[in-house]
Symmetry: C2
DNA sequence: CATAAATCCTGACGAACGTAAGGATTTATT
DNA sequence: AATAAATCCTTACGTTCGTCAGGATTTATG
Protein backbone atom coordinates (compact mmCIF):
# COMPACT_ATOMS: atom_id res chain seq x y z
CA UNK A 1 0.00 0.00 0.00
CA UNK A 2 1.41 3.35 -1.05
CA UNK A 3 1.09 6.45 1.09
CA UNK A 4 2.01 9.93 -0.01
CA UNK A 5 3.71 11.98 2.64
CA UNK A 6 2.32 15.50 2.52
CA UNK A 7 3.84 16.82 5.71
CA UNK A 8 7.03 15.73 7.37
CA UNK A 9 4.98 14.58 10.35
CA UNK A 10 2.97 12.15 8.22
CA UNK A 11 5.71 9.61 8.74
CA UNK A 12 4.62 9.17 12.37
CA UNK A 13 1.34 7.28 11.94
CA UNK A 14 2.93 5.17 9.24
CA UNK A 15 5.68 3.98 11.55
CA UNK A 16 3.22 3.28 14.32
CA UNK A 17 0.82 1.37 12.09
CA UNK A 18 3.53 -0.88 10.71
CA UNK A 19 4.90 -1.59 14.17
CA UNK A 20 1.44 -2.38 15.52
CA UNK A 21 0.82 -4.73 12.62
CA UNK A 22 3.84 -6.68 13.81
CA UNK A 23 2.62 -6.70 17.44
CA UNK A 24 5.87 -5.40 18.83
CA UNK A 25 6.36 -2.97 21.69
CA UNK A 26 8.15 0.33 21.17
CA UNK A 27 10.77 -0.86 23.61
CA UNK A 28 11.65 -4.03 21.73
CA UNK A 29 11.31 -2.48 18.30
CA UNK A 30 13.61 0.36 19.23
CA UNK A 31 16.15 -2.11 20.56
CA UNK A 32 16.13 -4.27 17.46
CA UNK A 33 16.48 -1.25 15.21
CA UNK A 34 19.20 0.33 17.28
CA UNK A 35 17.54 3.51 18.50
CA UNK A 36 16.21 4.59 21.86
CA UNK A 37 12.65 3.94 22.94
CA UNK A 38 12.31 7.66 23.49
CA UNK A 39 13.33 8.40 19.93
CA UNK A 40 10.92 5.89 18.41
CA UNK A 41 8.06 7.34 20.44
CA UNK A 42 8.92 10.82 19.20
CA UNK A 43 9.02 9.66 15.60
CA UNK A 44 5.62 8.02 15.93
CA UNK A 45 4.22 11.33 17.16
CA UNK A 46 5.33 13.23 14.11
CA UNK A 47 9.06 13.05 14.25
CA UNK A 48 9.57 16.36 15.95
CA UNK A 49 12.70 16.98 14.03
CA UNK A 50 14.63 13.76 13.81
CA UNK A 51 17.65 13.16 11.63
CA UNK A 52 17.21 11.87 8.10
CA UNK A 53 19.48 8.85 8.53
CA UNK A 54 17.87 7.86 11.82
CA UNK A 55 14.38 7.98 10.37
CA UNK A 56 15.62 5.99 7.40
CA UNK A 57 17.08 3.48 9.84
CA UNK A 58 13.67 3.07 11.45
CA UNK A 59 11.89 2.67 8.12
CA UNK A 60 14.42 0.04 7.09
CA UNK A 61 13.93 -1.84 10.34
CA UNK A 62 10.19 -1.85 9.81
CA UNK A 63 10.35 -2.90 6.17
CA UNK A 64 8.96 0.38 4.87
CA UNK A 65 10.17 1.37 1.42
CA UNK A 66 10.69 5.01 0.58
CA UNK A 67 10.07 6.15 -2.98
CA UNK A 68 10.31 9.61 -4.45
CA UNK A 69 8.49 10.81 -7.53
CA UNK A 70 10.36 13.41 -9.54
CA UNK A 71 9.39 15.48 -12.59
CA UNK A 72 10.22 13.85 -15.90
CA UNK A 73 12.51 16.75 -16.77
CA UNK A 74 15.01 15.52 -14.22
CA UNK A 75 15.22 11.98 -15.52
CA UNK A 76 18.15 12.61 -17.85
CA UNK A 77 20.18 14.43 -15.23
CA UNK A 78 19.61 11.72 -12.67
CA UNK A 79 20.68 8.94 -14.98
CA UNK A 80 23.99 10.71 -15.49
CA UNK A 81 24.63 11.21 -11.79
CA UNK A 82 23.82 7.64 -10.85
CA UNK A 83 26.32 6.17 -13.26
CA UNK A 84 28.97 8.02 -11.35
CA UNK A 85 29.25 10.64 -14.05
CA UNK A 86 29.70 14.39 -13.61
CA UNK B 1 9.48 8.97 -12.59
CA UNK B 2 9.66 6.92 -9.39
CA UNK B 3 12.93 6.26 -7.63
CA UNK B 4 13.32 3.86 -4.75
CA UNK B 5 15.65 5.11 -2.03
CA UNK B 6 17.82 2.22 -0.88
CA UNK B 7 20.28 4.17 1.22
CA UNK B 8 19.70 7.42 3.04
CA UNK B 9 22.29 9.05 0.81
CA UNK B 10 20.35 8.21 -2.35
CA UNK B 11 18.40 11.39 -1.85
CA UNK B 12 21.44 13.45 -2.84
CA UNK B 13 21.59 12.79 -6.59
CA UNK B 14 17.82 13.12 -6.79
CA UNK B 15 17.87 16.60 -5.34
CA UNK B 16 20.70 17.65 -7.59
CA UNK B 17 19.08 16.25 -10.71
CA UNK B 18 15.80 18.01 -10.08
CA UNK B 19 17.54 21.30 -9.36
CA UNK B 20 19.67 21.02 -12.48
CA UNK B 21 16.56 20.33 -14.54
CA UNK B 22 15.27 23.70 -13.40
CA UNK B 23 18.56 25.43 -14.25
CA UNK B 24 18.86 27.06 -10.86
CA UNK B 25 22.04 27.63 -8.84
CA UNK B 26 22.47 26.14 -5.39
CA UNK B 27 22.66 29.66 -4.04
CA UNK B 28 19.32 30.82 -5.41
CA UNK B 29 17.57 27.53 -4.81
CA UNK B 30 18.70 27.45 -1.22
CA UNK B 31 17.46 30.99 -0.76
CA UNK B 32 14.04 30.35 -2.24
CA UNK B 33 13.61 27.22 -0.14
CA UNK B 34 14.81 28.85 3.04
CA UNK B 35 17.98 26.90 3.79
CA UNK B 36 21.63 27.77 3.56
CA UNK B 37 23.66 27.18 0.43
CA UNK B 38 26.02 25.11 2.54
CA UNK B 39 23.18 22.88 3.66
CA UNK B 40 21.84 22.29 0.16
CA UNK B 41 25.31 21.35 -1.07
CA UNK B 42 25.67 18.83 1.75
CA UNK B 43 22.29 17.29 0.98
CA UNK B 44 23.19 16.90 -2.69
CA UNK B 45 26.32 15.03 -1.67
CA UNK B 46 24.47 12.42 0.30
CA UNK B 47 22.90 14.39 3.06
CA UNK B 48 25.60 13.77 5.60
CA UNK B 49 23.05 13.56 8.34
CA UNK B 50 20.53 16.28 7.82
CA UNK B 51 17.28 16.68 9.70
CA UNK B 52 14.11 15.03 8.46
CA UNK B 53 12.05 18.22 8.34
CA UNK B 54 14.78 20.17 6.55
CA UNK B 55 15.18 17.51 3.89
CA UNK B 56 11.42 17.43 3.50
CA UNK B 57 11.49 21.19 3.11
CA UNK B 58 13.98 20.86 0.28
CA UNK B 59 11.97 18.13 -1.45
CA UNK B 60 8.85 20.28 -1.21
CA UNK B 61 10.68 23.25 -2.66
CA UNK B 62 11.81 21.17 -5.58
CA UNK B 63 8.45 19.56 -6.23
CA UNK B 64 9.61 16.08 -5.28
CA UNK B 65 6.91 13.83 -3.83
CA UNK B 66 7.79 11.34 -1.15
CA UNK B 67 5.84 8.09 -1.01
CA UNK B 68 6.25 5.17 1.33
CA UNK B 69 5.19 1.62 0.58
CA UNK B 70 4.06 -0.33 3.62
CA UNK B 71 3.08 -3.99 4.08
CA UNK B 72 -0.60 -4.68 3.58
CA UNK B 73 -0.87 -5.91 7.17
CA UNK B 74 -0.53 -2.34 8.38
CA UNK B 75 -3.27 -0.90 6.24
CA UNK B 76 -6.04 -1.33 8.81
CA UNK B 77 -4.01 0.17 11.63
CA UNK B 78 -3.05 3.16 9.55
CA UNK B 79 -6.63 3.91 8.50
CA UNK B 80 -7.57 4.08 12.16
CA UNK B 81 -4.74 6.42 13.09
CA UNK B 82 -5.32 8.79 10.19
CA UNK B 83 -8.96 9.39 11.06
CA UNK B 84 -7.69 10.85 14.28
CA UNK B 85 -8.71 7.78 16.19
CA UNK B 86 -6.75 6.05 18.94
C1' DC C 1 -12.05 -1.92 40.82
C1' DA C 2 -7.32 -3.57 41.20
C1' DT C 3 -3.23 -4.96 38.97
C1' DA C 4 -0.03 -5.00 35.42
C1' DA C 5 1.60 -3.63 30.96
C1' DA C 6 2.57 -0.29 27.53
C1' DT C 7 3.21 4.29 26.33
C1' DC C 8 4.32 8.89 27.29
C1' DC C 9 6.66 12.73 29.60
C1' DT C 10 10.52 15.41 31.87
C1' DG C 11 15.26 16.99 32.80
C1' DA C 12 20.17 16.72 31.96
C1' DC C 13 24.25 16.01 29.22
C1' DG C 14 27.30 14.87 25.24
C1' DA C 15 27.26 14.90 20.31
C1' DA C 16 25.79 16.58 15.95
C1' DC C 17 23.38 19.84 13.17
C1' DG C 18 22.66 24.44 10.45
C1' DT C 19 24.24 28.89 9.50
C1' DA C 20 27.48 32.34 8.27
C1' DA C 21 31.76 34.08 6.21
C1' DG C 22 35.76 33.57 3.73
C1' DG C 23 38.71 31.32 0.60
C1' DA C 24 39.96 27.36 -2.54
C1' DT C 25 38.82 24.46 -6.40
C1' DT C 26 36.38 23.24 -10.29
C1' DT C 27 33.67 24.35 -14.38
C1' DA C 28 32.03 27.34 -18.08
C1' DT C 29 32.72 31.17 -21.44
C1' DT C 30 35.24 34.08 -24.59
C1' DA D 1 44.91 30.83 -21.86
C1' DA D 2 42.35 34.23 -19.15
C1' DT D 3 38.31 35.73 -16.92
C1' DA D 4 34.18 34.86 -14.62
C1' DA D 5 30.77 31.85 -12.64
C1' DA D 6 29.39 28.05 -9.89
C1' DT D 7 30.41 24.76 -6.58
C1' DC D 8 32.93 23.12 -2.82
C1' DC D 9 35.58 23.28 1.46
C1' DT D 10 37.00 24.87 5.97
C1' DT D 11 36.35 27.25 10.64
C1' DA D 12 33.59 28.94 14.42
C1' DC D 13 29.45 29.33 17.09
C1' DG D 14 24.62 28.89 18.71
C1' DT D 15 20.94 25.63 18.47
C1' DT D 16 18.97 21.19 18.40
C1' DC D 17 19.13 16.27 18.49
C1' DG D 18 19.52 11.53 20.77
C1' DT D 19 20.24 8.94 24.75
C1' DC D 20 19.71 7.79 29.50
C1' DA D 21 17.19 7.49 33.73
C1' DG D 22 13.24 8.04 36.36
C1' DG D 23 8.51 8.81 37.08
C1' DA D 24 3.68 9.87 35.45
C1' DT D 25 -0.21 8.71 32.58
C1' DT D 26 -2.83 5.89 29.81
C1' DT D 27 -4.41 1.39 28.28
C1' DA D 28 -5.25 -3.50 28.71
C1' DT D 29 -6.60 -7.67 31.66
C1' DG D 30 -8.87 -10.30 35.38
Amino acid sequence: MKIKLQKASDIGPVVRAVRKAQRIRQDDMAGSIGVSENFLAKVEHGGGNAQWTKVFQVLEGLGIELVCDIPDDAEDFLAGYMRGGS
